[in-house]
């Protein structure tokens, strides 16, 4: 059975249809990329899956359960966690504090327990601290754990965002343009990192513009154009798909020189 099913998903903003009747499935343990030209509705699709936006039409099923109308924090609790296109981090906290905080949904102590520092609360915090260090080490950030997030350079910041998302213990991780602003070398490292995350048992969906990275990393690709799904398949198939080539490069007879 597939982990996530998106069925006939539509989102309208007034007269604009950002996502139009999109359906696809994500299998457990795969890396699925969503690509498409600017404004194709990729980020809107992400926001719909994580409930940051409510769809106008259609359903989202996760592990056989309809999650379409749940609030975002409940969707996160079910195991769907996203990163953001723009840098999104708790800037005034250190790297370690960011990741420790992000363990929040594994908290077993009640609010009163936390206030009175009960045994459960202390146990939680020790556990989160260890787990956070482990995640930071895994992503190569251990040396920067006490650095305030706003002082981190871009590449490390991206890794920290992924660390924060991983701390929330996702089954399904949605990465919104994780390789933006990286040089080829950094991208290669990041691609390996995402593969490593998948090998830890996390299913990954990512939106990305860097075609080289997408072709390298994806098990399957979904292509959107003007909010509609125009193709789906393995990287090889997508590269040769005429509809995809048209969407990216325009029709041959319209563009002189191709």
């Amino acid at each position: 059975m597939s982990l996530l099913q998106v069925k006939d998903l539509t989102k309208r903003f007034g007269g604009l249809t950002a996502v139009n009747g999109v359906s696809f499935e994500v299998k457990e343990g795969e890396i699925l990329s969503v690509i498409g030209p600017n404004g194709a509705g990729k980020s809107t699709l992400f926001k719909l899956i994580t409930s940051f936006l409510k769809p106008s039409h259609g359903t989202i099923t996760f592990k056989g359960e309809d999650i379409t109308h749940l609030p975002p924090h409940v969707v996160a609790r079910k195991g769907i966690v996203r990163t953001f296109q723009e840098t999104n981090i708790f800037k005034e906290m250190t790297a370690l504090q960011n990741v420790v905080l992000a363990h929040h949904l594994r908290c077993r102590a009640s609010s009163w327990g936390i206030f009175f520092n009960s045994r459960q609360a202390r146990k939680d915090e020790t556990e989160f601290h260890q787990s956070a260090l482990e995640i930071l080490t895994y992503l190569g950030l251990a040396a920067l754990k006490d650095e305030e997030a706003r002082n981190l350079p871009h590449g490390h910041l991206r890794a920290l965002e992924i660390a924060v998302a991983l701390a929330a213990n996702p089954t399904l991780l949605l990465l919104d343009e994780p390789f933006t602003g990286m040089n080829p070398e950094e991208t290669d490292t990041a691609v390996e990192m995402v593969r490593g995350i998948r090998d830890r048992g996390v299913t990954v969906i990512l939106v990305e513009h860097d075609m080289r990275a997408v072709m390298k990393i994806s098990d399957r690709i979904v292509v959107l154009n003007f909010g509609t799904k125009i193709a789906e398949g393995k990287p090889k198939e997508i590269q040769q798909n005429p509809a995809v080539i048209e969407a990216y490069l325009g029709k041959e007879d319209e563009e002189a020189g191709f």
Binding site: A76, E92, A143
Partner: protein, 347 residues
């Protein structure tokens, strides 16, 4: 700007190479306790024991410090809502609600002050949670505006409360706190006559208790969650934090503290009117926080004591009092935008 950025990133790179080994502070490795905790201990000693013994006969001095202490308590609530990134100008409303709860319960139903005090806090917290749920969706100046109108709306509600709140004449002759005894043992003797000393001890205990509770709260995970809401609500909800729940929690705790303060002043002044707390008071509660520094738990305490005491000192030059006061305020806002405590404690 570009140069400092470069230096910053170089420093980070250096750290990566070093493997993140930082130098521990020299003092903290020698002493089992920090200097600031020693300072706090002595301040607490003076405040709770030495000061009231020295000034036990000076009604005026005790009165000023009682005022400053309880206004600090009320402002500490507002400070908590600053930690979730909301500028709250509604604290006067909840002090009013707390005050009226105590007034009505004790005058009409003869309930003991020691029961009225927590009940007033709870009543304010309950109303705060109900109102906070919808309005906390707003941020920035919109939240500030709606909380400001809330103060005014609450004043009007009590003014037009008919026989229940006795309108503009207010509720007077609120009894002084009686004895608190449990199982025949008197824990607190009745507050007799017009001696302000027992009120001093009560105000001081409430301030210390509020400070300890808030310190515990802000250092716990809940405090981290609050600060995460100030920095990025979107990210907080994406990692599974129930944003609505925690911001209502912060606001309700703030209102609880406001209710306690209102209840105290009702018993202390023995009266309450709709005009006891107005929009001006709500703004002052917020100003104390700004003045002391929003990043510091002691911010509102420092702000409140400084403003209230300087206001009293300026009393002799009455004509210019407000003007000098305003100049002090403007100067501080201009030169110390992060509050007075930012002078000593660099972040």
């Amino acid at each position: 700007m570009a140069a400092t950025r470069k230096v910053e990133s170089e420093r980070v790179e250096e750290k990566v190479r070093e493997g993140g080994k930082g130098k521990p502070g020299i003092l903290s490795s020698v002493l089992p306790f920090s200097l600031s905790s020693v300072l706090l201990f002595f301040l607490g000693l003076i405040y709770l024991i030495i000061f009231p013994l020295l000034y036990r006969d000076s009604r005026y001095v005790l009165g000023v410090v009682i005022n400053a202490s309880m206004l600090s308590v009320i402002s500490l609530g507002v400070w908590l809502t600053f930690t979730i990134g909301r500028t709250n100008i509604s604290q006067g409303a909840f002090a009013l609600i707390g005050g009226y709860t105590t007034a009505i319960l004790s005058v009409r139903y003869g309930v003991s002050f020691w029961l009225c005090l927590p009940l007033s806090g709870l009543m304010a917290a309950l109303i705060g949670a109900l109102i906070g749920w919808p309005i906390l969706r707003l941020r920035g100046v919109y939240f500030a505006m709606i909380t400001l109108s809330l103060t005014e709306a609450t004043r009007l509600a009590f003014l037009n409360g008919g026989d229940f709140t006795r309108g503009g004449t207010g509720i007077v002759d609120i009894p002084r706190p009686g004895a608190l005894s449990i199982a025949g043992i008197t824990l607190i003797p009745a507050f007799k006559g017009s001696d302000p000393l027992p009120f001093y001890y009560l105000a001081a205990s409430l301030l210390v208790l509020t400070l300890i509770s808030l310190r515990r709260l802000t250092q716990s995970r809940i405090g981290w969650v609050f600060r995460s809401l100030r920095q990025n609500e979107e990210l907080a909800s994406s990692i599974g934090i129930n944003v609505a729940k925690y911001r209502v929690m912060a606001y309700a705790i703030c209102c609880f503290i406001g209710g306690l303060g209102g209840s105290f002043f009702a018993a202390f002044q023995q009266n309450i009117y709709p005009a006891t707390y107005t929009v001006t008071d709500s703004i002052y509660f917020m100003l104390y926080c700004f003045l002391g520094g929003l990043d510091y738990l002691f911010g509102p305490v420092v702000g409140a004591f400084l403003l209230i005491i300087s206001f009293e000192l300026l009393h002799s030059i009455q004509t210019y009092q407000t003007m000098i006061y305003a100049i002090i305020m403007i100067t501080f806002m201009l030169w110390l935008p992060n509050g007075i405590l930012s002078l000593r404690f660099k972040k």
